[in-house]
């Protein structure tokens, strides 16, 4: 590790010299570990799972993963500030249902209508995020409790709007969002790539990203260093809500219907992806690349088992094991990386 290297050069020049080594920090090690696990899993499935290593199946896994992964981008920012968002499942149902309600009466669904429906879903998600942010940031309610309340409340609202019935959408351009392709690539996968790019710019190329890591690392130090913490909390939950809203929109497009009673427990899949990806629930540590690999690892794991006709309960059991292993390995890496006198 870099901290133990003794250098007689001046700090400025040694900075340049050790930067390469520093890039291999503990978080990167985690990424390598995840990538290794993923490759290993792919190799095993390539041998034992029928039809696993086909272009069709691999793209299919990516498409299945995309909805969880999009919500996980937002969840990553929330967990980085040491928060949590339990309302994701309800928000996915709520935003997808709202978009479906807008489209359900139409006979013809054109590009404009689709864009409006997407906007509605994203704004609905952002609205739930704003509510979460206000309860947490202004009222000082712990994130766990606040989002537990919106989990219940938003679900109730979605059910109330539709009298608990699914809202169907006429087949057309909207379902293309969930099932269509551009070239060989499924549309949801392209949208996922876009959301990850936005998340990357936000966390790594914008000042607010630095502040997000700082608030999660030590909120009072961040505040004394001029970070406006309440504003930041609001921003992060709104951003996360918008990601969730978009995920909800894609989900309803895929199913050609809004499911006000669906996606119960979906937030746990999202949190699992983030945590397996190496983001610390204590805040301040984590990377978006890890979240992507985390979502993919869990997705691939399930996909292979499905192809082998294994009961889905096994998938749940294995996912549980993967979460524990990921955290334990991460802990070992971190201890080795930061032990100090």
């Amino acid at each position: 590790m870099t901290m133990t290297e003794k250098s007689e050069l001046s700090p400025a020049s040694s900075t340049r010299r050790t930067r390469g080594a520093a890039r291999l920090s503990s978080m990167n090690l985690h990424d390598f570990g995840l990538l290794g696990a993923l490759l290993l899993l792919v190799c095993v499935y390539a041998i034992i799972a029928p039809n696993f290593l086909t272009e069709f199946n691999l793209l299919n896994v990516l498409r299945q993963v995309s909805i969880v992964a999009i919500a996980a981008v937002g969840m990553t920012t929330v967990i980085l500030i040491a928060g949590i968002d339990l309302s994701v499942g309800s928000t996915v149902a709520f935003s997808g249902t709202l978009a479906a309600l807008f489209l359900t009466e139409r006979t013809e669904i054109g590009v404009i209508a689709v864009l409006i429906a997407v906007t509605i879903a994203v704004l609905a998600g952002a609205g739930v995020g704003l509510l979460n942010g206000l309860i947490i940031g202004l009222l000082g309610v712990p994130a766990f409790i606040a989002t537990l309340a919106t989990l219940t409340g938003v679900r109730g609202f979605a059910l109330l709007l539709t009298e608990a019935k699914p809202v169907s959408v006429p087949v057309g351009d909207y379902s293309w969002l969930g099932t269509g392709h551009i070239g060989p690539l499924p549309v949801p996968v392209l949208i996922m790539a876009l959301v990850f790019f936005i998340g990357y710019v936000l966390l790594s190329r914008m000042k607010i990203g630095r502040r997000i890591y700082a608030v999660g690392g030590n909120e009072s130090a961040a505040r004394l260093s001029g970070v406006r913490v309440t504003r930041l909390i609001l921003f992060v939950y709104i951003f996360a809500g918008a990601c969730t809203g978009l995920a909800g929109c894609l989900a309803s497009a895929r199913l050609s219907s809004g499911q006000p009673a669906g996606f119960i427990g979906f937030e746990l899949d999202v949190i699992a992806a983030v945590v397996v990806g190496g983001t610390s629930l204590m805040g301040g540590r984590g990377r978006l690349s890890g979240t992507f690999f985390g979502a993919l690892l869990i997705g691939v794991l399930g996909n292979g088992l499905t192809l082998m006709d294994v009961q889905t309960y096994w998938k749940q059991i294995l996912t549980g094991i993967v979460i524990v292993v990921a955290i334990v390995v991460d802990g070992i890496i971190r201890r080795r990386g930061s032990q100090a006198s």
């Binding site: 900075t15 260093s225 001029g226």
Partner: protein, 511 residues
């Protein structure tokens, strides 16, 4: 409740007659990664002695203490207790052998009450249930002995850093150990509490206990220690009887050179247009404060812990809102709603607790230094990583922060270098008014001198400095003017000419 009466209970382990060697370490070594923190150190502890470990930060004192207390395990070497070799896999095993440690990083449990913390692990019980009443009574005895006068059922979260320190000492007394290791016990204590602690250490020695004192405070070491072991770069330098040592000798032993900050000539600034004017300020913990700060002036604030000095600093930094009174900065009204607003006006704070308020410990030197100056690093909402790295490298060089790279995590640095990182972060905002709350707390003489020298250099460049310190001599050596606080009020405003430590102490204590 006297100490003797309290200590008459059975202590863990057998009692040796004073002067006999009860613990011996041979060739102890401990490395973290490639960093040899303790290197082939041998020493012994005798019954009924106060044995001080001295050295700069990073010299290996704390690590050595942790090896004795079972907090860390040595890579090489042996420990003997009463002549037979021992191995302590964890602190619990050391406690069973009668060895307990008060840590530098405070380890009280905030969510428990004061009494529960004092008696943690040795709670009185009746039929397997905690005996609440007895607990309060027993805890109170230990609290009285250390001079912490708070109700035993108070939540620990409400204690100040200094009070937590006393609480930890009470806890170690309750464990009834015969070897008590104090790691920087007075670094966060005010003069009166520190004095009380010295008496307590003396009483422990009288009661036949062995006290290991890890300390940067040479006056304290010379005052209470019987023997002094000096470490440098993890290696043993010498073990000497305290009476053969003096202040200058200790500095030479510890640093290997003759460093000292010479007292600075105070300058009179009154008459110049003030930078900061505080009138009749009232707020949480602050009853009435008046303050005037001039350009390039170093203003000291003295007073006990709890006298309102930290509260005043927090209001000036925008961290807390005052309830009444006025503040003027460069002749304009100054009422910051948050630290961000104060920073924008050029007022920056180095907070009292660098670990809790100053630093993101697991983050890198770079991430810490760039944080407060983010607004200037890149255009609009976008961040320029290159500019941040240059800024960090510039301040690492300017403040001579000893670090292998700006990508090293700050928790791998010594206390002095950590404090320099906080300073670098604050200076990177190019403040016009610099607020320093206990800037030299818990750091070694070398780093202390560097920080004080740096502060003087900043004042010479025209930056106005307000500095809070519990060490009165430090104020006298560096400040142009000293304001003394007591009970939430500013009670004295003295030009630093012909005043003594006694003058300040009288103002700070007088009722």
């Amino acid at each position: 409740m006297s100490l003797d009466a309290l200590l008459e209970g059975d202590i863990a382990g057998p009692m040796a007659s004073p002067g006999t060697v009860i613990l011996r370490g041979e060739g102890l070594s401990k490395a973290f990664g490639g960093n040899q923190a303790v290197d082939q150190v041998s020493f012994d502890l005798r019954a009924g002695e106060v044995h001080a470990f001295v050295g700069e930060n990073g010299a290996g004192k704390s690590t050595l203490a942790k090896l004795i207390a079972g907090v860390l395990n040595s890579d090489e070497g042996t420990l003997e207790v009463d002549g037979s070799p021992v191995h302590f896999p964890g602190p619990h095993d050391a406690q069973a052998a009668g060895i307990a440690m008060v840590h530098q990083e405070l380890s009280v449990v905030s969510s428990l009450s004061v009494a529960e913390n004092v008696l943690f692990g040795v709670e009185p019980s009746r039929w397997g249930w905690m005996h609440r009443q007895k607990m309060s009574a027993t805890a109170r005895k230990y609290l009285d002995v250390v001079g912490l006068h708070v109700p035993p059922n108070l939540s620990t979260a409400r204690l100040s850093t200094a009070q937590r320190q006393l609480l930890e000492i009470a806890h170690v007394l309750a464990l009834n150990a015969r070897i008590i290791i104090l790691d920087e016990p007075t670094s966060s204590l005010a003069t009166s509490d520190a004095h009380h602690l010295r008496e307590l250490i003396g009483a422990l020695r009288e009661a036949g206990r062995t006290v290991v004192l890890v300390s940067h405070d040479f006056d304290e070491v010379l005052d209470v220690a019987d023997r002094v072991t000096c470490l440098r770069d993890g290696q043993w330098v010498c073990t000497e009887p305290a009476e053969t040592l003096d202040h200058d000798k200790l500095i030479r032993l510890v640093t290997g050179r003759d460093v000292l900050v010479a007292p600075r000539e105070a300058r009179v600034h009154t008459g110049e247009a003030p930078v900061l004017e505080v009138r009749e300020l009232t707020g949480p913990g602050l009853v009435h404060a008046d303050l005037v700060l001039h350009p390039g002036e170093i203003l000291g604030i003295g007073g006990l812990v709890g006298s309102g000095r930290t509260e005043l600093m927090r209001i000036l930094a925008g961290d807390v809102r005052p309830t009444a009174g006025s503040m003027m900065l460069f002749g304009e009204s100054f009422a910051p709603s948050a630290p961000s607003a104060a920073l924008k006006r050029g007022v920056s704070l180095v907070p009292e607790s660098r670990k809790e308020q100053g630093l993101i410990l697991h983050a890198t030197v770079l991430q810490n230094i760039e944080l407060a100056a983010l607004d200037s690093l890149g255009s609009g909402p976008f961040f320029r990583a290159g500019a941040a790295r240059m800024l960090a490298a510039e301040y690492v060089e300017k403040l001579r922060i000893k670090v292998s790279s700006v990508h090293a995590p700050v928790n791998s640095l010594s206390g002095g270098n950590q404090q320099k990182v906080v300073l670098a972060k604050v200076l990177a905002t190019q403040p016009r008014v610099l607020l320093l709350d206990e800037p030299t707390k818990g750091i070694d003489v070398g780093a202390k001198a560097e920080i004080l020298t740096l502060m003087r250099g900043l004042a010479a460049q025209g930056i106005s400095v307000v500095m809070v310190s519990s060490v009165l001599q430090e104020l006298l050596d560096s400040c142009d003017r000293i304001v003394v606080m007591r009970g939430g009020r500013t009670v004295g405003d003295l030009e630093n000419v012909d005043i003594s430590e006694e003058d300040l102490a009288r103002l700070a204590f007088a009722g």
